[in-house]
């Protein structure tokens, strides 16, 4: 028996709004009446370090963590951070990656290699059925602020079909999370993210 369940892993760099992105999905899933678990990263790791967040929802969810090799989709807010999420992706899953390249200062200091877009895409294609590269940063800037890139990625993820949530539930979730003028900005960012994928 297959019970409805969605397992997602979101990765990025501390400060990119990964937690907000995960929380928006979690709230939308609650709105649809699902059981939900969202695993977050707080504290020291948030200071410019790698952040990885797990989101699970469905009929009966217990563990807040997704098992390696079982995520329906991964969403990466930064190019090289997609590699960290990739071990969670199931064969035939979906990968949505923000093209942003942000080499860690430590790798510049130590002269370490930073992967190219082609390398990351190729690695993901070996597992995923679909790989989407999104220029979330410039879309966010056009909407009003680079800080909206996370919600642009939410739109792209929704558009890919991996979320299995209603568009209205996500908009309602955005309305619950933000206040005042930020609601409109975030809704716009979400809509632009949807377009970014559908126009490809």
């Amino acid at each position: 028996m297959n019970v409805f369940q969605v397992d997602l892993v979101i990765s990025g760099v501390g400060g990119q709004g990964v937690l907000t992105l995960a929380s928006l999905m979690g709230t939308a899933a609650i709105i649809e009446g699902y059981d939900v678990r969202v695993s977050e990263v707080h504290g020291m790791a948030q200071r410019g370090g790698s952040v990885i967040c797990h989101v699970r929802y469905g009929v009966n969810v217990n563990s807040p963590l997704v098992m390696e090799g079982r995520a329906d989709a991964i969403i990466a807010m930064e190019l090289s951070e997609a590699i960290k999420a990739a071990s969670y992706l199931k064969k035939g899953g979906i990968a949505i990656v923000n093209r942003l390249e942000f080499p860690p200062p430590l790798s510049t200091i130590r002269g370490l290699k930073y992967p190219t877009v082609e390398e990351v895409a190729e690695m993901l294609q070996s597992k995923a059925s679909q790989v989407y590269l999104v220029d979330a940063q410039s879309i966010a800037e056009k909407v009003g602020s680079p800080l909206l890139a996370n919600v642009v990625m939410l739109g792209a993820a929704w558009s890919s079909g991996c979320l299995k949530l209603n568009r209205d539930s996500i908009i309602q979730s955005i309305k619950q999370h933000f206040k005042g003028g930020l609601v409109e900005l975030n809704v716009n960012a979400f809509e632009e993210g949807i377009k970014a994928l559908s126009t490809k």
């Binding site: 929380s23 695993s39 790791a45 790698s50 563990s63 390696e68 090799g69 090289s80 200091i109 690695m123």
Partner: protein
Amino acid sequence: MKEQQVVLMLGNEAIARGAIEAGVQVATAYPGTPSTEILETLSREARRYGMYVEWSTNEKVAFEVALAASYCGLRSLTAMKHVGVNVASDALFSSAYTGVRGGLTIVSADDPSCHSSQNEQDNRLYGPHAYIPVVEPSSPQEAKDITVYSIELSELHKLPFMLRTTTRLSHSRGPVKLGAVPERKRIGRFERSPESFVCLPVNARRMRAKLVEKLKSVEESFNNSPFNRVLGDGRLGVIACGLAYSYVVDALRLLKIDDKVSVLKISTLHPMPRPLLKSFLEDKEKVLVVEELESFIELQVKALCHDMGLHIPIQGKNLIPLVGELTPLRVVEGLAHFLGLKLTLSSTSPESLTLQPPPRPPILCAGCPHRSTFYAIKQAVKRKGVDAIFPSDIGCYTLGYYPPFELVDTTICMGAGVGLSCGLAKFSGKFVIATVGESTFLHACIPALINAVHNTSSFVLVVLDNGVTAMTGHQPNPASGYNAMGQRVKPVLPEDIAKACGVSFCRVVDPYNIEETVTCIMDAIEHVKQGLGPAVVVARRKCSLLLLRESRRGEIKLSKCVVCEELCKGCMVCIKTTGCPALIPRGSRVIIDANACTGCGLCEHACPYNAIRRM
């Protein structure tokens, strides 16, 4: 938020909500990941629910304030990270002896895998050690419900209760159905009863005997706890607690054997309800205990089987890892081994990927004043030509461990940097320059600094004062000038404390004035070299995350650094000497992320070609 409403809550928010529903009137804490959001949530809600909330100077004081409230008949809660309980433990042990009046729960947030900590100690062990009951929830909903349960039982049995959570539970969200909030408030009153509250030997001997009896009656309550339950009725048994239980349930479903295995989910961990365990064990062929960190339950189950004359294999840490937190995969593997199943899961461990991600450890934020201070320390040491070592402490500045600074030689526990400096200054044969944040300084360094003066240990102590406890999310501390209730209060400043401790060199500098800071640290080094005792430099500048927030709200205007393209030679010296994340390599040049830059000017100072300007 209304009764019966279902809200997506963080485990820690659920604990806070539980405190509100339990009628807790006093809540205290010292911030520490993964416990911080409990008091943060309560401090936001304090006024609405008529609650007193404080960020205390350290965990021991936090515990004592909550204990005092309990002595006065009020329900109270105190929250801390696992190592914070070590700080509070002196009072904790005696509090079991005196017992409590109003219900008192101490939340211990453990950190398996050391996500944000110096160790992965298992605080369930405080239960048998300190004679306090321990409970552990396994979902955000239970986190709320068990908080209420622990406060009520604490009051019933007149014992402080420990609620143990872990990082993954504290920091995971799940749906929580809200309960009612009691209307009635109690008035605190201390009734004198020295024979109950004075742990003189004559009283303590009697108290201990009573304590042993109290724990027996707690065991009876635990035996009927609604939070312990058995799932399934197979003859293969699994016992699990905390989040390990959630991994077990998902794993059994995945392995399609949920009908062959019987699972005992246990939330009352000390004292273990033996009758319940006995009835579970009786008909089992073999049992696996799945628990995070130590073999706490496993050893008790083994002892119980021995007492029952039951000869069945009890497995646990031979199949479930002792080191690091549990994950769904680790539990699936352990269970499959226990059940003799072959795993055919298509999992990929990170090692099997062909592409390696560049390491991205946490770093000091762009414009962090600590970066400027570390940079200045490096310059001062170089210019004075001293052979120095660098004890440090716990906070954002521990990240000075990483290149390009590498100015953290020791980090042990809160405040240990100054105590170690007292010894290192005498025995290391090196010059000692210690760093500590103002919150940690006020938490645990004052007796050590007095010791330095009293026992003539000479070193430079740089207090990095950014006005808040930043690492855990900007909680106020005594130097901040405001408190958890949002009141303006008189700030307690590190330089005043240092002076009062008898330190004769106490100076305050702004680390954004780089040359001034370098000179000041050089003067401090000279003071120590001349045998004039310890020197304290307070490097004071507001946390750059707060500066950025204020500038985004239009409250202040920050200058920004920009790279002049024609002058930049692409030598990367700015990145290599400051490690600032606002500096981004682009081809053979560097660009500055204007959204992150606070205009601290450090890169301007570092650039050998004057290619960076502050605008």
